[in-house]
Amino acid sequence: MKLKESPVLVSIVHLVLWPVKLLALWIFLRGHHLPGGGFIAGLVMAGAVALLRGMAYGYEEAVRLLDIPFPAVLGLGLAVATVTVLGPALLGHPVMKHAFGRLSLPLLGEVEWATAVLFDLGVFVVVVGTVKAILLQIGAGKAREPGRPGAGERGAMPIRLRR
């Protein structure tokens, strides 16, 4: 994983990145009726994007490129999920009550909708945020290998041993 900024690799990553994102979206949307859903889609999305970018640019660079505040992303996802959970209560329904139905749209024809998908969206966002944060942070942390000045020479923290 020391392949940094190889132009070929960057191009390939760019090519692959969008199909992967679409794949994740597809997995997410089909989740209500077929295998898939927020968890898997989030994992695919975050895993692929973070790994590919990390490979292409190196993780420190990727962290800088993707300079989004992870805590905020997590908060956003949790907020979406919480709102869909508590929202029905504001409308006089039991908490967590989901609605669903069918809808005719001009171009797409008959489309199903379900508010449960909104909750799943919250899950998706949280998973994406967490996994991306973990991967990129760990990846970037890795770049500071021991042996580099400032890291390796540093004395260990004193530990007092037992008799």
């Binding site: 009726h33 968890f39 942070q137 021991p146 260990a156 923290m157 530990i159 037992r162």
Partner: protein, 112 residues
């Protein structure tokens, strides 16, 4: 099949536990992952193995496998991923700070 699964689960648990008891912090994290596999398989096995179709509703199919353990396991896999990542970083920081991956060196100091 149940017997074979049970033996496989036993092996996973035994190997995971042995790693968990190790002094080496990396092996502890590895052991945790093996234990997670074993636990997930155990949950699935306790729901009954291989009877009926996957719990995705299809017209005309009457018998499905139990979806409850599957939902539990799905949750467990994702949580375990978070925990593993956390443990990894913790272990990594430990090695960085103390120049040691030996947990026996990390004992607290006696209160006397």
């Amino acid at each position: 099949m149940e017997l074979l699964t049970a033996i496989g689960i036993g092996v996973l648990f035994a190997a995971g536990t042995y790693l968990l008891l190790s002094r080496n912090v990396v092996r502890v994290v590895l052991g945790n992952s093996l234990l997670a596999y074993g636990t997930n398989l155990m949950l699935l096995a306790s729901g009954g193995l291989g009877r009926g179709a996957a719990p995705v509703l299809v017209e005309g199919v009457e018998v499905y496998t139990d979806p409850v353990p599957q939902a539990l396991i799905l949750t467990a896999i994702v949580i375990n991923f978070g925990v593993t990542a956390f443990l990894l970083v913790l272990a990594y920081r430990m090695v960085q700070e103390h120049r040691s991956e030996d947990l026996a060196h990390l004992r607290g100091v006696d209160d006397e």
